[in-house]
């Protein structure tokens, strides 16, 4: 059995915050454990931030549509926008910058795609006509890949 719900919002930082919180509320209301909802929230926020900052960069903010497909053992979160495609049509590698001893060289960014790739179990991207369709999958099995938490 699959349950579907969605929400849409304008691609501004404040509207994105409200939209992300609406999705979080929906996931909690469906009984998904808090720690898993938190992981979904981190990855979703990074993906939506990228839409706000990059896909709609230099244009009036367009719409973002988030659609969740909830299966018994996994959750797919689809994020759609009508902004510019990813460079070369491929997703960023999301490699974490080197952390050295030098204070000034510590990274202040570049964490977003690293976090998405750490937290999602599967990622798909498709450019469909003039839309970006990014899909993130999260395992809902209790024996998930989260053993590092201990």
């Amino acid at each position: 059995m699959t349950e579907t719900f969605s929400c849409s919002f304008r691609a501004t930082e404040l509207d994105a915050r409200d939209g992300i919180l609406r999705v979080v509320d929906q996931l909690k209301a469906r009984g998904i454990p808090d720690f898993r909802v938190e992981e979904v929230q981190i990855a979703l926020a990074e993906a939506v931030n990228n839409v706000v900052e990059h896909a709609y960069a230099g244009t009036a903010p367009g719409d973002v549509l988030v659609r969740c497909n909830l299966h018994p053992d996994q959750l797919w979160v689809n994020i759609n926008d009508a902004g510019t495609p990813f460079p070369n049509g491929t997703l960023p590698e999301g490699k974490l910058a080197e952390i050295g001893d030098d204070l000034d060289s510590l990274p202040e960014g570049g964490f977003g795609w690293f976090l998405i790739r750490e937290l999602a179990t599967d990622i798909r991207y498709q450019r469909d006509e003039d839309k970006n369709q990014l899909s993130l999958c999260f395992s809902l099995q209790l024996q998930g890949p989260d053993v590092r938490t201990s």
Partner: protein, 114 residues
């Protein structure tokens, strides 16, 4: 203002009065930190007890706040919720900052100047 601050002996405690340090908040947070910590003790403890969500923009703003302090001062973090701690751990930023689960832990005598 997203922050309040008090100085006790040789520590400045800066409290974040927000539930989220996210993309909508990060620039203001960084600027407020600059104002709050323009001068003061060498050790600054950032109390994150009210914060229940941080994203990469917020993480970057905390790193920037530490850089603003310069080499002779340090920024420790206290009151991390499990979610906030997870973001620091995943990004290896837990190796850059001293993290304390509660503010009192950060202020225990052996931590001062540590």
């Amino acid at each position: 203002m997203s922050l309040t601050s008090k100085v006790t002996e040789d520590v400045q405690i800066v409290t974040v009065n927000a539930e989220r340090i996210d993309a909508a908040m990060a620039i203001q947070f960084k600027e407020d930190m600059r104002v709050e910590t323009e001068s003061g003790p060498a050790r600054v403890v950032l109390d994150l007890s009210s914060v229940n969500f941080i994203d990469s923009s917020g993480l970057g703003a905390i790193v920037a706040a530490m850089k603003q302090l310069g080499k002779d001062r340090k920024l420790d973090l206290a009151g991390l919720s499990p979610m906030v701690e997870k973001v620091f751990r995943l990004t290896r930023m837990d190796t850059v900052f001293n993290l304390y689960s509660t503010l009192p832990e950060a202020l225990e005598p052996q931590q001062v100047g540590g």
